[in-house]
C-alpha cells in the first residue's frame, strides 16, 4: 500500500474510532435503557368474568369491538411485548367464549412497533384509522408513550401493559392514558417495607445502574422509604450497563467496615445478572434485593443454583396458586392453549389489560374515550397482577397496586406474599 493510502487509512481509522465510541457508548446505554423500563407482570387474582359465567356467543348483528395493539415483534422490546401478547390473545378468546363485551365480539388488530418510538406512534395512528376503539401500548414509557399520545390525540383510551415509570402518567400523557404496571415508587417502597418489617433489615447498601432512569429512581425510592422506616443506608455505588466488569464495585462492598443487612441492586438484564453473579462469586452471601427485573428465570440461571440464593424482589405477580384468585384457572387455560405453563409474570399483564378493557367498557357502556376513562378511574380491578385502583386524572392515574414479594433460593423462586407499602414516597 502506498503512503498516501496509509494516511487516508489513518483518517478512516480515526473516524471509525470516533464512530465506534459513539455507537459503543450509545449502545451500552440504549440497550439496557430499554430493557429496563419494561416491567413485568402480574399477579394475582382474578378478574373480570366470574368463572361461573355461562358460555355464550357474541351477537352476530352487532359490530365487533376493535382493540388496537402495538406489540413490538422485533427489536429488544419484543420479549417484553410478546409475553403479554400471548395472554392477551387468550383473554380475548375467553371473553368471546362468554358472549363478548356488551354482546359485541372482541377483535384484536395489531401492528409491530419495531421497538422504535416513531414507528410505535405511527402504528397506533394507523390502527385508529382502521377502527380501533381502544389502544394497547407497549410495556415501556420510552417506547410505549407515542402510542398513548396517538390515542390521546384521537380522544381514545390508551393502556400500557406494564410500563412502570412514574412518567407513564395522565399528567404527562393525557387524561385518557393508563398503565397497568405499578410505578417504581411502589416497587421500591414495597421491598424496603417488607425487608424492614419481616426480614429485620436495618442497614442497606445500594448499587444502581446509572444508564436508566428505571434503575436510578428505583434505588432512590427504596432509600427514601427504608430510611423513612428507620433503616440506615450505609453507602451507595453505581455501575454502567455494558461495562461487564464490576470487580471494583465488588471490591468496595467487601471493603466495607461492616457488612450491610441487604444489598439493594437495580439494573436490567443482561447486566443485572452479570453484576449479581460477580457479587456472589466474590463470596458475598448477604441477601440481594431489587425490583421486577429480578423476575426472570434467565437471571437465576445466570447465577446458577449454587449462587442464586437469598434474592429478594418486589414484582408484579406470582404465577402459582398461592397468588389466589383466578390465577389457577389462567395457568390451566394457558397450558391448554400453548402446551406449557406461563414462563414469566410479564405474561399475565396481557390478560389483565384485556380484562380491564372488557370490564370498563361494560361499565361505561361505550368505548368513547372520556366516558371509558372516567369509568376506569372509578373502578377497582381484581387482576392476576393484584388489586388495582387508579388515582384520578389530576393526580396522574397512579396505579394503586400491591407488589408480589418473591425470594429465590437454590435457583427456585418462592412466593412470600403481597405487599402494599404504607405511605410510599410520591414521585
Amino acid at each position: 500500500m502506498k503512503r498516501e493510502g496509509r494516511t487516508s487509512l489513518t483518517h478512516f481509522l480515526a473516524l471509525f474510532l470516533a464512530l465506534t465510541l459513539m455507537i459503543g457508548i450509545g449502545w451500552f446505554h440504549a440497550i439496557p435503557a430499554r430493557a429496563q423500563t419494561p416491567t413485568p407482570e402480574a399477579g394475582q387474582e382474578a378478574t373480570a368474568m366470574p368463572t361461573e359465567r355461562p358460555l355464550a356467543t357474541p351477537d352476530p348483528n352487532k359490530p365487533p369491538l376493535i382493540v388496537g395493539a402495538v406489540f413490538n415483534a422485533t427489536g429488544w422490546m419484543a420479549t417484553y411485548d410478546q409475553l403479554p401478547r400471548s395472554a392477551a390473545l387468550l383473554a380475548i378468546e375467553d371473553i368471546n367464549a362468554h358472549g363478548g363485551v356488551m354482546g359485541r365480539e372482541l377483535k384484536l388488530i395489531e401492528l409491530d412497533g419495531k421497538t422504535d418510538p416513531a414507528t410505535v406512534g405511527n402504528a397506533a395512528r394507523q390502527l385508529i384509522s382502521q377502527g380501533a376503539e381502544v389502544i394497547i401500548a407497549p410495556c415501556d414509557f420510552d417506547i410505549g408513550a407515542p402510542a398513548s399520545q396517538a390515542a390521546q390525540e384521537k380522544g381514545l383510551v390508551g393502556i400500557s401493559t406494564c410500563a412502570t415509570s412514574p412518567l407513564y402518567s395522565s399528567k404527562v400523557l393525557g387524561d385518557k392514558q393508563f398503565t397497568v404496571g405499578m410505578w417504581n415508587n411502589i416497587m421500591g417502597a414495597a421491598m424496603a417495607e417488607y425487608g424492614y418489617e419481616k426480614l429485620n433489615w436495618r442497614t442497606a447498601y445500594i448499587v444502581t445502574d446509572t444508564s436508566t432512569d428505571y434503575a436510578t429512581s428505583l434505588g432512590d425510592y427504596f432509600e427514601q422509604h427504608f430510611t423513612g422506616l428507620g433503616g440506615r443506608v450505609i453507602g451507595r455505588d453505581t455501575f454502567t450497563a455494558g461495562d461487564q466488569d464490576f470487580s471494583a464495585q465488588v471490591q468496595r462492598i467487601k471493603g466495607l467496615s461492616s457488612q450491610p443487612d441487604v444489598l439493594y441492586i437495580t439494573g436490567t438484564m443482561p447486566d443485572l445478572g452479570i453484576v449479581l453473579r460477580q457479587v456472589r462469586a466474590a463470596g458475598i452471601t448477604i441477601p440481594l434485593a431489587g425490583g421486577d427485573t429480578y423476575d426472570d428465570t434467565e437471571l437465576y440461571k445466570t447465577l446458577g443454583p449454587d449462587l442464586a440464593n437469598d434474592l429478594y424482589m418486589a414484582t408484579h405477580s406470582w404465577l402459582g396458586p398461592e397468588a389466589g384468585g383466578e390465577m389457577a384457572r389462567f395457568v390451566q387455560l394457558y397450558k391448554d392453549k400453548y402446551g406449557e405453563p406461563p414462563s414469566s409474570a410479564f405474561i399475565v399483564m396481557g390478560w389483565d389489560v384485556i380484562k380491564i378493557i372488557a370490564q370498563a367498557v361494560e361499565k361505561a357502556g361505550t368505548t368513547e374515550g372520556a366516558a371509558l376513562g372516567k369509568a376506569m378511574e372509578e373502578m377497582e380491578f381484581d387482576l392476576l397482577s393484584g388489586k388495582l385502583k387508579w388515582s384520578d386524572a389530576e393526580s396522574g392515574h397512579q396505579p394503586q397496586k400491591e407488589a408480589a414479594i418473591v425470594v429465590v433460593q437454590g435457583g427456585q423462586p418462592q412466593f412470600l406474599g403481597w405487599m402494599r407499602p404504607t405511605n410510599p414516597p410520591q414521585p
Binding site: F12, T210, D245, A248, T302
Partner: protein
C-alpha cells in the same frame, strides 16, 4: 481490608482483565497487519463460541470438551468468513473491506436475534468460574486467575509460533510487506487463512473466559470485546502485535483502576476518563505506543 490487600486485589483484577483485552486486541491486529482490514465481525466470533457453549453446555458432554468445540467453532467461522465474505473483496479498497466487516457483523447479530433469542441466555459454566480460594486474607477468584495465566501462556505460545515456525515467520513478513512476501514464494491464501484461524482461535479462548465471567450470552455479547480490542489496538499501535498486547493490558488496568480511584460522583464518567486518556496517548503518539516496522521504514 488493608491497603496492601487492596493493591494486590487490584493487580490481580487488572492483569486478568488486561490479559483478556490483550488477547482480543491481538486477534484483531493479526488480521489487520496483513489485510489492512479492521474486522468488526470479530466480536461475533466471540458470540458464535458463546452460543456453542450455550447449546452444548447443558448437555452431558464434559465442559472441557465443550470448550474445545466452542473454540473450534470460532476458528471455523473465522475461516468461513474469510473465504465467503472477505476473499472476494480482498483486492478492493480498505473501506470496502471495512464495510463488509460491518455487514457481516450485523448479519450474524441479527441471525442470533432471529434464530436464538433477542435476549441474553444463561450459560451453564463450571462452578470453577465463581469459586475463590483464600491466600492469607486475600480472596482470589479462580476464574480471574485462570484467565490471567491462560492469557500469558497464549501470548508466550503465539510469540514462539511467530518467531520459530515457517508459517509464523511468513505471517510476520506478510505483515511487513505482503507483496515482497508473495514474491519469495509464500502463498497468500495460506498466510491469510492462518491469520484468520489464529484470530478465530483467540476469539474462542476469549469467549470461554468472557462468558465464564458474564454467565450469559446474547446477540450483542461481542460488542464490548470488539470495541475494547479496537481501542486497545489503536492505542498500542495497529501495526504491531506487541503494541496490541501493551494496549490491552493498559486498557484493562485503566478500566479497573479508574473504577477504584475515581470519586463516587465521577464514576459515571469513567468511560469518558478512559477514552480521554486514550486520546491523550494518540495526541502524542498518533501511531500508537509501539510503531510497526513498516511505518518507521517508510517515514
Amino acid at each position: 481490608m488493608n491497603v496492601l490487600q487492596e493493591v494486590l486485589q487490584f493487580i490481580i483484577n487488572a492483569l486478568s482483565l488486561g490479559g483478556l483485552y490483550a488477547l482480543m486486541a491481538l486477534g484483531l491486529v493479526i488480521v489487520y497487519g496483513i489485510l489492512r482490514l479492521v474486522n468488526f465481525a470479530y466480536g461475533e466470533l466471540v458470540m458464535v463460541a458463546g452460543y456453542t457453549l450455550l447449546m452444548l453446555g447443558a448437555g452431558p458432554i464434559p465442559w472441557l470438551i465443550v470448550a474445545v468445540i466452542s473454540v473450534g467453532m470460532a476458528v471455523l467461522t473465522s475461516l468461513l468468513l474469510e473465504r465467503v465474505a472477505f476473499r472476494p473483496v480482498r483486492q478492493a479498497s480498505a473501506t470496502t473491506m471495512l464495510i463488509t466487516s460491518f455487514a457481516v457483523s450485523a448479519l450474524l447479530q441479527n441471525a442470533a436475534i432471529l434464530f436464538v433469542s433477542p435476549r441474553a441466555k444463561a450459560v451453564v459454566t463450571p462452578s470453577f468460574f465463581t469459586e475463590n480460594f483464600q491466600v492469607g486474607n486475600l480472596l482470589i477468584s479462580k476464574g480471574n486467575l485462570a484467565s490471567l495465566v491462560v492469557s500469558l501462556l497464549l501470548l508466550g505460545l503465539l510469540t514462539l509460533f511467530l518467531r520459530r515456525t515457517l508459517l509464523g515467520i511468513a505471517l510476520r513478513a506478510a505483515a511487513d510487506d505482503f507483496v515482497m512476501t508473495r514474491l519469495v514464494g509464500i502463498r497468500a491464501n495460506q498466510v491469510i487463512a492462518t491469520a484468520f484461524a489464529i484470530s478465530g482461535f483467540l476469539a474462542g479462548v476469549v469467549a470461554l473466559f468472557w462468558i465464564g465471567r458474564l454467565g450469559s450470552v446474547g446477540p450483542f455479547v461481542g460488542s464490548t470485546p470488539v470495541l475494547v480490542a479496537f481501542v486497545a489496538a489503536v492505542v498500542g499501535g495497529m501495526e504491531s502485535l506487541t503494541g496490541a498486547v501493551i494496549g490491552g493490558y493498559l486498557l484493562g488496568t485503566l478500566t479497573v483502576g479508574l473504577q477504584l480511584v475515581l470519586p463516587q460522583s465521577l464514576l459515571d464518567y469513567r468511560q469518558a476518563f478512559v477514552f480521554a486518556i486514550v486520546l491523550l496517548v494518540l495526541l502524542f503518539r498518533p501511531q500508537g505506543l509501539v510503531r510497526g516496522r513498516a511505518v518507521t521504514e517508510r517515514v
